[in-house]
Subunit: 961 residues, 2 copies
Amino acid sequence: ETKEAEGSPNPAGLDRPSRGNSGIICQAIGRSIFASSISLASERVSVLLQKEEEKETSCPLLFIQLNELFCAHDSLEWKQTARWIKFEEKVEDGGERWSKPHITVLSLHSLFELRMCIKKGTVLLDLEAHSFKQIVEKAMAVQTGERSLRPEVRKKLMSVLLRSPRHHTTQSHLRVVAEFSTACCRGECFVSLQQSNQFKKKIPAGAEVSNILVGEVDFLDKPFIAFIRLQKAVGLGALTEVAFPSRFVFILLGPRAKSKAYHEIGRAVATVLSDEVSSHRVAHQAEDREDLIAGIDEFLDELTVLPPGKWDPTIRIPPPKCLPSPHKRYQRARTQHAPATQHVSEELQRTGRLFGGLIKDVQRKAPWYWSDFYDALNIQCFSAILYIYLATVTNAITFGGMLGDATDNMQGVLESFLGTAIAGAVFCLFAGQPLTILSSTGPVLVFERLLFSFSKDYSLDYLEFRLWIGLWVAFFGLILVATEASYLVQYFTRFTEEGFCALISFIFIYDAIKKMLILADSFPVNWNYKINDLSLLCLCDLSLSPQQNWLESANWSLLTKTECLQVGGHLVGNSCNYVPDITFMAFILFLGTFLCSMMLKRFKTSHYFPTPLRKLASDFSIILAILIFCGIDSLLGLETPKLVVPSEFKPTNPQRGWVVFPFGANPWWICLASAVPAILVIILIFMDQQITAVILNRKEYRLQKGAGFHLDLFCVSLLMVFTSVTGLPWYVSATVISLAHMDSLKKESMTSAPGEQPKFLGIREQRLTGLVVFILTGVSVFLAPVLKYIPMPVLYGVFLYMGVAALSSLQFLDRIQLLLMPAKHQPDFIYLRHVPLRRVHLFTLIQMLCLAALWVLKSTVAAIIFPVMLLALVGIRKAMECIFSRQDLSWLDDIMPEKDRKEEEENKRGKSCVLQMWLCGSGRHSSCCGGQGPSLLTCWRSILMLGRPYLVGSHRSCVHC
Amino acid sequence: ETKEAEGSPNPAGLDRPSRGNSGIICQAIGRSIFASSISLASERVSVLLQKEEEKETSCPLLFIQLNELFCAHDSLEWKQTARWIKFEEKVEDGGERWSKPHITVLSLHSLFELRMCIKKGTVLLDLEAHSFKQIVEKAMAVQTGERSLRPEVRKKLMSVLLRSPRHHTTQSHLRVVAEFSTACCRGECFVSLQQSNQFKKKIPAGAEVSNILVGEVDFLDKPFIAFIRLQKAVGLGALTEVAFPSRFVFILLGPRAKSKAYHEIGRAVATVLSDEVSSHRVAHQAEDREDLIAGIDEFLDELTVLPPGKWDPTIRIPPPKCLPSPHKRYQRARTQHAPATQHVSEELQRTGRLFGGLIKDVQRKAPWYWSDFYDALNIQCFSAILYIYLATVTNAITFGGMLGDATDNMQGVLESFLGTAIAGAVFCLFAGQPLTILSSTGPVLVFERLLFSFSKDYSLDYLEFRLWIGLWVAFFGLILVATEASYLVQYFTRFTEEGFCALISFIFIYDAIKKMLILADSFPVNWNYKINDLSLLCLCDLSLSPQQNWLESANWSLLTKTECLQVGGHLVGNSCNYVPDITFMAFILFLGTFLCSMMLKRFKTSHYFPTPLRKLASDFSIILAILIFCGIDSLLGLETPKLVVPSEFKPTNPQRGWVVFPFGANPWWICLASAVPAILVIILIFMDQQITAVILNRKEYRLQKGAGFHLDLFCVSLLMVFTSVTGLPWYVSATVISLAHMDSLKKESMTSAPGEQPKFLGIREQRLTGLVVFILTGVSVFLAPVLKYIPMPVLYGVFLYMGVAALSSLQFLDRIQLLLMPAKHQPDFIYLRHVPLRRVHLFTLIQMLCLAALWVLKSTVAAIIFPVMLLALVGIRKAMECIFSRQDLSWLDDIMPEKDRKEEEENKRGKSCVLQMWLCGSGRHSSCCGGQGPSLLTCWRSILMLGRPYLVGSHRSCVHC
């Protein structure tokens, strides 16, 4: 039953061309400019692959190990010297250490040698054997004719091959010995030794082993070569490092003085076998020697070569972030193209029916509803809750304070807390995208301020007027939901989104710094203080006090400043206006929190300490930074300003209750007239809400549970009714905090094969973190005793961090940096390969001008027309199509939807490709997707169309594309 | 006279084997495991190379440009699409931008195609032609027989080839047009256009151009291929981007639909031609087509290949830091080895004669003496002077202050200034290594303190006693010079040096922080201050003052603290002991200066702004940081402690004069007894001086003018006499400041070929910077009004920077970092490939223990035996040879000298290799030197033996090795 593959019949009756010695040349001519026939090798390979597909067997992962023969203590010994899963790991010279996984760099020479080995050596395909001894025996049995071995050589060969091998394991020796001895007591030495190997965990179940044995012996005068594929994978016991069954065995033993060459050939076999397409699957399917050679030839044809003298072959190349898709190569090998599956963002398709979008949103989200709760069971969510809770509380206090100022405390800090808690929690429970965090926003604040002064000037009841506006806004909102107006967000291209996101981020940064400066004003430093002066003085002068008499004898030093003023005294002295040290301390806390957060976040990519520890530190970076600096602040004991939350539950302004009555205070026509300002507010809310929603639902976040643009707007509209009736602030989605929320919920795969990049798996999509954050916000009234230890500068530091983190991930910022770089130093961004630099700069400058205009608007009272200006941004982007070519814009921005159906179809096809490779689209890794021809261009365009990830961390994650 | 190379006779009568179609296979078999003959191709190539050597012609650099045919505005046009000097630069798709230089990544396929092209196409070698037209005509003339072209095709071909090309220049269009028009007025359009190209400056004079023209046309049905080498390089006018004469022309025009393949073949030709050894020299020397093919085959055999699926061929690989030496490949191609030239560090060879070493030092240094002054004419030296001056002054003040405390001002700050200035200047004028900066050191300070208290206890005259010790020390020093004792420094291996350097760096860091804490103690912060308290009070209580009466009516607020105490009052109030803000401000200045220096130093490697600007910022980093923070300090106006230098020239202690008399105060036998402490001092000075000297004279600094160990010690000994007689402090070389001095004087080449790394060229070796520094130190008395604006915290920040900079470049620190890293994240240090990790850790731990022991010693009174402990370090290192294998130590440390001559010879041979490649030895770039076999091991060992650069910057510079 064991026959050598040499003479196997052609089983499938396929027309398989035979080839002479000049196979490689033939094959080179295949795709040559000199002839136009298809490569013979590739033809053969595609036949094999087609056959494989027909069989519908999936190829198991191959674990490949290279054992070499060494002379130790005057006897020969097999030692494992390298292994492959996807990449090569080598046992270092010291013999106690695995190298880092790296790409196998070969010399072309060794591949030619391998080809010769397969040509000249023994090839046994589908051998039936149950032990290594049997395999070797059968391999020797077929050595007949020219290749036959003398009996004594055969015996020696057998004895060498069956010597027990030594594996290099990653464990400490002590532990191995300990486990080994316990296991041997149970009589299962080898198996246990293998199982104790931690490394096995990295190999998926069902993997198979390839054993490569190479070495030199002195009793051979020509090489003994055998390539064996087993009919059924069998465990070969001690031979393999990991206890998986073996499928392939390659043996190369030859005369002395060529051990370097044998080693290189061994590596070449391993590399060919570790290749997914043309070789390892071919090796699985090959019917005879010629098929194997065809596989090697196909492999050769796809090689990337580096010229000698320009590259040092001893440099170990780390695995690239992103690899060309095996599917692509697979397809190429089959010389046919499968039609790309179509995919369109269905969330934004118009149904044409009233509330059609809303209904579809509900239908889409409903099945996920319970998983939205149990998906949150992860320690990472705990960190996210703390982080977002602190951000939300700080925001509530800040906006609450400002609203209080603007509305004479009709809406104060307590209303802000209550509103945030209720609106946020409701939204998280019912919205389409529960990762969104609601908050008051700048434009709303400006509107409230105007509304309040208008009401005052015209003696209108502010809250009642506001109630009607709110009701109208909700009504308009419902109309927008009913008419599926959210489909308009398709017009928000990268240009608009990045402009908006940059603006919001700048506002965060600006506000954080501004608050610190205000704080410095409240605790002024005496810059003119001279150490030697005795002028450090502040006394309470009671000479004008009505209580002067009875206080005369009191010890003045017991009075505080407040008491002094209470009893009618006034402060005298040159240092009364100054506060020492607090400002400096505040800045130290502010910058310290910011830098510490940054550092801890980046700690994940550092090389110190084990990965789980680093991941933990990175996930909890902000919380850790806050705790560290709260600790420092407490230790030093300086009286820095602390977080103060309201501790009593009652309206800030005693003149108002918890419910606003719609009639009574204002004339009846106000309820109609309110529709006019309501139009402004609905534009504002629609724009703010939808741009944020678009940003949060970008493809690069890999959201599994889909978006719900219509449902989100529906929720916001209903909440408008509630907040208007109860006189609480109005809420829309807050871009920066929501992004921070998502960022803190990122999932990454644990690395599988050594050297593989961890993959970004998506976001923990659930409703619980948001819900808990808002419940906590609600009960903050009771948390006051704990919260009072948190200094405000620390929280401002967190705000600064959030702004910088959101900003630093924008392509816009990359392009601004390009302005400062000489062309030769610029990174290899994909758009720079295709768009002239001046065009890129022009695009950036226009974007900067728009941003500057928005900034000016936002800083003045005109902020109220800010949402309209966002619409203007869309217009500007449209107008830019006159300045820039469509081609340039496709690289720098998304393409806007057009009437032209054909164009749209093409776009859609482009987007389908994106499904596979949106993660590669960071633009930082030059062209991570292989393949050639027009389909590549379409692919790349669509990568750019859906853009690169916004957040810093995510562009490290890449998938096969 | 124009004949096609096809049928050229075999001119040299060499046995050149002919080869059939299966040339590649043959060649692959050449070095195969199946046969042992030398590769035919490599034989052919080595014959050619030998011939070249006989001719003694040097091959000019080749500038290679690829022009492709494009269809623009319905007419064909040639456009330059790529160019090569060493690496590939591509015109990006946008057409207005050169890509970054990168390694040409080819497919193996394209190289096979090229081979076929050379085989099938026209090959014209040593063609005589004076214009491109002539070349094309002659190339067509030989198209006979099978390849003959129809006349109309020939005409069309001619017209296409002679179309004027379009180059991509790096200039702006406007400027090109402007220059072009002015030039055209002078009737020299083309030449001017070429000359205006800034890029030409990057190509060395004497370079030659290779033109590669590829494209597709519709009138051809099979490719037209021609490879032409001109007899004499001629300028081809507008064809070439740069106005250099052309040597090679490769033309490939073929039928439509293969343009991608033509492009790839064009790139393949360019890559082969840009290879220094087997192809471009072979192409220069080839006699016929077969020689060219042999060149390609040899090139193929040396290729590095990357497996498909594991690497994305579209990734542009940046040029590596360090390339394998072309000499190595050259030698391999010639299959013989030139004997390595011998080189031994001759500074440390013993002559065996009295003062023999000193005389040789003087002989070595004398010829450089004048260049030691005019070599200093560079802006960089100005920065170095400012930087080192400030460091020296700060050091002088610090040590002066401490010496003053220790010796009751017998040696004070002024003496410190004066001594530093004179000793330093004299040393810089006459020493063997004028880059050394002299300073007081810790052990000397401890000795002085002990000596002074001993003198006091036994009523001896301190200065007179010290004079005699100094004279004895000088005498012993001269004996050491006479006996050439400095050769002992060979026993200071990396282990000792790094231990010492780490210790000194830690002391710098520790001292900087300690001084800041002392400063914080002098300006205490009132941590318990409450903002609301009225307790901010400090009054002058004059109730106990004798002048109470006449002062009673005076306004107390006009008194300063000092005045208050002067008039006998005492300070009352709870804030008298506190100083607000100063401490915080001091820490901000301290950390600010440190971080700013670090940032500016690293700015050189950033990508923003043009290179000269970045270089300037980096060269002046410390000065800039000092200026910035002095500016901030002045602006804010807080009374931070400032630098105060003595402003009057007189001995600090009025009891002493400027000259110490040897006799009179002490008993006569003291002058003999002084010899005993002098032995201690000479050990101290010898060790301190020589370790620093060894560190400063390491090979990696590429010093051209040689070291002078004996001369240095001689100068130090003579200065001992002077400083003892005048009662000034004693001086030896200061490691950290001297390293900072060298670091600020580094020379780097401007990049030559695009993509090549700038080379570290050495240090500006001269005497002027040091001299000026010490002269300035001397006249600092007059600079007091300027220096008083410099806050001390800023200077402490500079000290911190110096310590960290010196520390961060030690291999020791890399190894400490390894302790914290999981094995899989560790960088690919070369020693990790060869020494088991546990051994590395053990080595590090021993070094850390030694350092800890030294630190403890240094911190106690035992500091006086510190130099003996350094000797102990050498002993410990010797003892480690029992624990570690010689092999391990050779990777982790230098090898100590042995009696064994043979061993020494081997080492010397190793060192000779180092001459070529010491710069690669940073250990960070894994194995930057190519080649194989035992000579590589020797090379690598010797890299490690001479170690990697100490300073951060230098490991970026690499040479061919």
